[in-house]
Symmetry: C2
Subunit: 173 residues, 2 copies
DNA sequence: CTCATAATGCACGAAACGTGCGTATCGGCA
DNA sequence: TGCCGATACGCACGTTTCGTGCATTATGAG
């Protein structure tokens, strides 16, 4: 357990890094008004603290031939025993299922699924998803168009006015 | 318009880079059985071809105090005129709305929204989302648990057996 | 088999990284 | 207000990484 104080420099760094994770320390330093060495030190701290979990190359799904995306709303059967584990393990093993969340509302789970085309998507659903254990019902929303898609998390809620002057308090295990 | 051939080395590189975008060329080279210089050249090609759209640091939402995530299913009003633009622009301007897709099915749009807590989420929905123009109805699924979440796109559909021996043909603008 | 094209590894100069260190700034306390 | 410990800072510098030039090898068409 450690405590880490985040100031506006760190927030600016996190924001910049979310958008361009391959920027050099010097470039980041310009944007944040810090020297490259300080940027290096801060990044190391932020990573050790767990705020930065890693780096990734972002690929273009369309360029890779992944033209179909859909959200599947899954309802499980309601027999007393806890059959959710088998379903969840099966979902985790399918690379085309990028996400799976349990949710409130009508469905038990929401899945985000990608596929090369409708034929492949159909086959994926019929032969792999629908055969997962414990499924009672699935309703699928196929994505028709993208209005917005980003991985950039909002940071505005941190360091809101009226709170600690120099740095916000974070607790990490 | 150019044509690019992708071989198994490129696929391995893309796969590795999705998972660890900060790996050095030498490290990647080991995994792919290529020299660092070749990795450098291939990455440059893949980026110019648009397969790699960029790099990003991945942040931990929980560590940043973003504990609430939800999917909002939006139905717009059906008066003849095309009022969708105003709604879409409004959505794009909200940083808490990470994604917005138009979908088939009952709803017109699906939004993925994050917020620090339920109070902030409630306020966001009431004061900003619901006030977007043209909305007839919204149903919200709040995420209760994460079974799986990844940005790693599946690449298995490329280079399927029985197709071009050395490299798959890609066309990029 | 021949040959043109493309891919590969090595080498080397340039760039970026990250630690040490002396200085400056901040925040608490008398 | 002035003092002092702790922290943050930039600079310097050795180390690592990058990416281009080039000679060699592999590939595929005719």
């Amino acid at each position: 357990m450690s405590t880490l104080s985040i100031d506006r420099h760190d927030l600016a760094l996190l924001d910049a890094l979310q958008r361009s994770g391959d920027a050099t320390n010097a470039t980041l330093g310009e944007a944040v008004h810090l020297s490259a060495s300080q940027v290096s030190r801060r990044l190391q701290r932020l990573q050790e603290a767990g705020l930065i979990t890693g780096y990734a190359a972002l690929l273009d799904p369309a360029a890779l031939g992944l033209d179909v995306m859909a959200f599947a709303h899954v309802v499980l059967e309601r027999h007393g025993g806890v059959r959710t584990e088998a379903f969840e393990d099966g979902v985790a093993a399918l690379p085309e299922v990028l996400e799976c969340f349990s949710v409130s509302g009508n469905a038990d789970y929401v899945l985000r699924i990608v596929a090369p085309d409708l034929a492949a998507f159909s086959e994926l659903m019929m032969k792999r998803v629908l055969r997962l254990p414990g499924i009672a019902n699935i309703k699928t929303d196929i994505v028709l168009g993208k209005v917005k898609q980003t991985h950039v998390l909002p940071l505005e809620h941190i360091a809101r006015p009226g709170r600690p002057r120099r740095g916000v308090r974070f607790t990490v295990s």
